[in-house]
């Protein structure tokens, strides 16, 4: 995702001679460096954003290695430990939700499944849906936004109206409705995989207008630039202009909006699972854990705190990182 950033945006930059002349002197010198370099140097100074990025990295590693980590801990997310449950109240024995050397974050009420293992596996669902639905949204939004901005006329009107319409929709309701009418088996997938697949598609579909609107606006202003005219006068075709001239200059806003979209999507996934239309048990997900925790908020508050904090840390990390990326890529930014 970040690879294109490091390509020099030669089309937009002044000639090499000018660059050399102003190099090292204040704001103008910044233009001589590649967009990716400038952004990275700004980002490096933003400690909060770096911390956010680091947490995101750690989370991704944790999610990828979830089976390995749980094996090392000797826990299984679906193994019952009924011996750790108070038979009278159904809540874990011991303090703080049954925290012990074996169960670092305690166990669930009633069946005593290890909470840490379920949190680790839940991270996979959250990040998978969060990332992939952002990818769907970015692809749809970029393609349709660039088409609308570049071709104008009825193409623009049509795509813009669709975007306005989707943005005015009661989204959560429609996502719930769509996910719930989907069959339990499709394209050779069953159970939770279907739900994950459908959630990725549906969340991505409702997210694309946010990126589409920005890309369209940028394209509208970029297509009138001299370098596009120059390319055209040299006989460049439409496709060449779209992909070689316009797209590289759209990378910054696209990167910004996709990093900001991931935490929103993670929250949506958690909300869907919280409402019972997300992944199906026994597959674990943070939203689902919170939903079961509703019944125990009085007797076993730890059960709700753990998945809640997991969601909070994840989304906060993405938001911090996203804000940092936005500031770093902002052409008007002073830092």
């Amino acid at each position: 995702m970040t690879a294109p950033l490091h390509e020099p945006t030669a089309e937009a930059a002044p000639s090499a001679a000018e660059e050399a002349a102003v190099a090292g002197t204040g704001a103008k010198a910044v233009q001589g460096r590649s967009l990716g370099r400038i952004a990275w140097e700004r980002l490096k100074r933003d400690k909060l954003a770096l911390a956010g990025g680091l947490v995101v990295l750690v989370l991704v590693v944790i999610a990828l290695l979830a089976p390995v980590i749980t094996n090392l801990l000797g826990q299984d997310p679906n193994e019952y430990h009924e011996d750790l449950i108070d038979p009278l109240f159904g809540t874990p024995t011991g303090s703080f939700g049954g925290i012990s050397g074996d169960h670092l974050l305690g166990v669930e009420p009633v069946n005593g499944r290890d909470i840490l293992a379920r949190i680790l596996y839940g991270a996979r669902i959250s990040l998978l849906v969060g990332f992939l639905s952002a990818v769907v949204a970015v692809i749809l939004g970029t393609v349709l936004g660039i088409l609308a901005g570049f071709f104008g006329g009825w193409v623009d009107s049509l795509i813009s109206r669709v975007m306005d319409g989707l943005l005015a929709f009661p989204q959560l309701l429609f996502i719930i409705a769509l996910v719930s009418v989907m069959p339990n088996e499709m394209l050779g997938l069953t159970g939770s995989s279907v739900r994950v697949f459908v959630m990725i598609l549906v969340i991505g579909f409702f997210g694309w207008p946010y990126i589409g609107r920005v890309v369209r606006g940028q394209t509208l202003s970029l297509r009138e630039r001299e370098y596009v005219e120059a390319a055209r006068s040299l006989g460049a075709g439409r496709l060449y202009i779209l992909f070689k001239e316009l797209l590289p200059n759209l990378v910054a806003p696209i990167v910004v909006y996709s990093t900001m979209m991931i935490p929103t999507n993670i929250l949506t996934e958690a909300a869907l699972s919280f409402l019972g239309v997300g992944v199906k048990p026994p597959t674990s997900s943070w939203g689902q854990m919170l939903s079961s925790a509703i019944d125990y908020y009085e007797s076993d508050p730890m059960y709700m705190v753990v998945p809640g904090v997991a969601i909070f840390i994840t989304v906060l990390a993405f938001n911090l990182f996203g804000d940092g990326v936005r500031d770093a890529l902002d052409p008007k930014g002073s830092r």
């Binding site: 319409g165 943005l167 005015a168 929709f169 009661p170 989204q171 959560l172 309701l173 429609f174 719930i176 409705a177 769509l178 719930s180 009418v181 989907m182 069959p183 499709m186 935490p263 929250l267 958690a270 909300a271 919280f274 409402l275 019972g276 239309v277 939203g287 919170l290 939903s291 925790a293 509703i294 908020y297 009085e298 508050p301 709700m304 705190v305 998945p307 809640g308 969601i311 909070f312 989304v315 906060l316 938001n319 911090l320 804000d323």
Partner: protein
Amino acid sequence: MLAYLIRRLFAAAVMLVVIIMVVFGIFFLVPRWAGVDIATSFVGKQADPAAVEAVRQKLGLSDPIYAQVWEFFKGIFVGRTYAAGGDVTNCAAPCFGYSFRSEQAIWPVLTDRFPVTLGLALGAAVLWLIFGVAAGVLSALKRGSIWDRGAMLVALAGVSLPIYFTGLLSLAIFAFGLNWIDASYVPLEDSFSGWLGGMILPWITLAFLYAAMYARITRATMMEILGEDYIRTARAKGLKEQTVIGKHAMRSTMTPILTMLGMDLGALIGGAILTETTFNLPGLGQAVLQAIRNQDLPVILGVTLITSLAVLFANLVVDILYAVIDPRVRLA
């Protein structure tokens, strides 16, 4: 202004038609493509074939989709009769469908639950507008100060916290731990203080999330506007800072806030699903969620339609207010 109004009304009407088509598409076409028999979802999977067939006849599910849509809309204005053999079910004038699961018409369910959701959304909106916008403006004016950093950090945390988690936390702390309030819902007609007690936590929880969002947007917008030429002009001609901010800057800052307010309020009025689930409030959102769990399609259809109408209406109101605040909009 009149031309603008007519344009907005027309756009709203087009949007309404599109929403209706999409709603019907989701509930009647998607299951068909996916190979799910809708009739079974009206009576339940355990139902015997005869019952399924009766429902199919009653609801006219074998009819082409346009006929079904037409029947549905005729029902809203003149009422509807569902008949299969000797079994007849009547659904009076504003008929938004009939649930064969719960054996009741949808309209009374909607009117029952609407006040709960409306009270929740409006109460929270007042709170988040006051606190969110105030925090955002102060942050923009004192950019870089301790206050600004602190407020923005809290706001960032606010937008990162899922509402059902803050809701549960507040319940655990204030209702259960400290025992300050009785957090169960009491209808407004029964007791005002009881209603207030039941609504205060949902209001604060909901308002916290939105206030965080609004504070962030207000701050960003305000800072951009403070850099505009007309603000410099206003200062240059010797206006008091109070007037520059209060009259000139605030007016422009309010336009994007208003757009957001319209969308958010519309969406919430259509059912604050997460908040209502967390606090067990008997509103529209809870109704639709129950309906989804029971696969009670007529209820989902009715609520979805009402919700869409609420969003549409809220957007229309915002568009009109927009034109009042910002005269340039009328020409666009």
